[in-house]
């Protein structure tokens, strides 16, 4: 019992302790010192949490069916911790430049990371909800940091009100699903004659999670919330909210697949690296979910990519491109036309590659932006020529998001498209590739802008030590994931010995 508690909650506890230390020390420091000391304190705790995560990674275990730990979950948690460090270092750049009077954002970043780690570990809707709210509430306040800016207040209000509504939608779905199955586990099956209720509840849950990841048609909050947030917060939230939301969606989908393939798995905890073969797809009712998710994927790809083409600020560009990335990731949910094993490995890989690249891109870009994170693309022209190292790092990270080799983003897209072809959805794969070409246009336009022109309009400051270190780690991870994808893709999927009653 104690070992399961340790394996699942110890890394989160260390990170939460870091947040408490930051919050407790904050009022005792002078304003200028806050931006020097607190990010480092947070980073130390994040590194400790990562070490603990490495130390406890081992057998798949679960805690009363509420939270679980397995190989894939621990990689995803490590990605969250890395994104938290990248976010902390970016915030340090941004806030110290503007002499922000307070150090709470660092604690909020760590708390948000704790919430997302709980979302990753969750294997039950209630456990998921705890993580979801911890992450959401922390990120709402981080979005509205610059209280004197009009667009910041707009972003905060829109994101908060819509987020609260969709949290209610989520809870209503959980209530209906509980009424249908008598359990809040991901892998619960409907009782006799309550399939329709179960379907309704799960649809509401999926809708709420699609809102959180910013998939069309639930994407309206994303451009405004991303634009109002400070630049590093934009990257951080794009990364961790996607990890949390998509891990939950993927885990729920995998649980449905598991139950459909083997009725004996009902109520048990499903490891994320597993694959299942569904013999009778038609009678499983999974195809209805497939249609919803694929429709959202196609819409996200079209709306996200074509809207991003016309954007003139970096944060809005990243907002629409994050909508399009939600589309690529939703393509991984496609069901095969024939009987064959289905796994979500391509989703997990894409998620890690995207999260690291997007968080680090924005942290690196923070150094190039003006006061109050002025990020008009035209002002960034020529910035890379004055800081070549930063330019190279940004180019690699953006190439990863665009899906160009030699980066992890390329392999992520390759895995998703090749899986689609293997599942018999050639048209979807072709659509995805065409959209990736459209995506490459606006990403490359940004990179070419960085390296050309003279635009001396914004005084560029270099990155601080912490930001350099975190961006460098992100670049190394982005390239290393391409070189050694087997660490994640070929993970043995040991079944969890369920301790759930």
């Amino acid at each position: 019992m104690l070992s399961e508690l340790m394996a699942i909650l110890a890394p989160v506890t260390v990170l939460a302790l870091g947040a408490l230390v930051c919050l407790g020390a904050e009022p005792f420091l002078k304003d200028a010192r806050k931006h020097v000391v607190l990010p480092w304190v947070g980073t130390v705790f994040a590194v400790l949490a990562a070490l603990v995560q490495f130390g406890v990674a081992g057998d798949a275990v679960d805690l009363h069916g509420l939270y679980a730990a397995d190989g894939m979950r621990s990689w995803l948690s490590l990605t969250v911790i890395l994104c938290a460090v990248i976010g902390l270092s970016g915030l340090q750049q941004s806030l110290s430049r503007d002499a922000y009077p307070g150090g709470e954002p660092y604690a909020l970043t760590l708390l948000a990371a704790c919430g997302v780690m709980l979302m990753v570990a969750a294997s039950d809707y209630l456990g998921l909800f705890v993580g979801l709210e911890l992450a959401s509430i922390s990120i709402y306040s981080a979005v509205g940091l610059r209280r004197h800016r009009l667009e910041s207040g707009e972003a905060l209000l829109k994101y908060f009100v819509m987020g609260a509504v969709f949290s209610a939608v989520f809870m209503y779905g959980v209530a209906l699903s509980y009424g249908a199955s008598g359990s809040t586990a991901y892998s619960a099956v409907a009782l006799e004659g309550r399939d329709a209720l179960q379907y309704l509840g799960q649809t509401l849950i999926v809708v709420a999670l699609l809102f959180k990841v910013g998939a069309v048609p639930f994407h309206f909050w994303a451009p405004d919330a991303y634009t109002g947030a400070p630049v590093p917060v934009t990257g951080f939230m794009a990364a961790v909210v996607k990890i949390g939301g998509f891990t939950a969606l993927g885990a729920i989908w995998l649980s449905r697949l598991a139950v459909a393939s083997d009725g004996g798995l009902a109520g048990s905890v499903i490891p994320l690296g597993a694959h299942y073969t569904v013999e009778e797809m038609a009678s499983s009712g999974l195809e209805r979910g497939h249609h919803i998710l694929i429709a959202a994927a196609i819409l996200s790809l079209l709306v996200g990519n074509f809207s991003a083409l016309g954007q003139s600020t970096l944060r809005r560009l990243i907002a629409f491109s994050s909508i399009s990335h939600a589309g690529y990731m939703l393509l991984a949910f496609a069901l095969p036309g024939t009987v064959q094993p289905v796994a979500m490995t391509s989703l997990w890989f894409y998620l890690m590659a995207y999260a690291v690249a997007s968080a680090a891109t924005m942290t690196a870009a923070t150094a190039l932006c003006g006061r109050d994170d002025d990020d008009r693309l035209i002002d960034l022209h020529g910035a890379a020529r004055r800081h070549p190292m930063l330019g190279v790092a940004l180019s690699i990270l953006v190439a990863s998001m665009a899906g160009l080799p030699p980066t992890a983003g390329f392999l992520g897209k390759y895995l998703i498209f090749s899986e689609l072809v293997a599942k018999g959805h050639v048209i979807l794969a072709v659509l995805g590739m065409l959209m990736a070409v459209v995506g490459a246009v606006y990403y490359m336009r940004f990179v070419i802008g960085l390296w050309s022109g003279d635009g001396n309009r914004v005084p560029v400051r270099g990155l601080g030590g912490l930001a350099w270190a975190s961006v460098a780690v992100a670049v190394v991870v982005t390239v290393a994931l391409l070189a050694m994808p087997g660490v994640i893709i070929d993970m043995p999927a040991a079944p969890i010995a369920s301790t759930a009653p």
């Binding site: 408490l20 919050l23 009022p27 005792f28």
Partner: protein
Amino acid sequence: MHVNPYAVLALVLVLALVYVGGALIAARLFGERGRELARKHQAVECSSTPMGDARIQFKVGYYLFALVFMVFDVEALFLFPAVKALAEGDTDTGILMLEIATFVAVLFLALIYAWRRKVLEWQ
């Protein structure tokens, strides 16, 4: 006699509509209408003349105090089950005391934070 529980609910709903709707319709039919007086539109203030506007700006400081109050409110609420478990004696006392101490310490941190950020000083 077996009655569907939802039928009772429906009956209550119908009764509620009849009762409230009936009262409104009856008032319209049989009620006596007096002259339009300005006093009729006044706020009811225990039969004394109201002073000023009801819509005043609320001092934001109250909310901060309410938030700090919440810290202790929640603390007291969550200590009850712990005390109950302690009284029944089927939990390890040492571990329970440790859990309570951790919980109180985290909440105490919130108070220190509020104190240092001068939330407790009325401005």
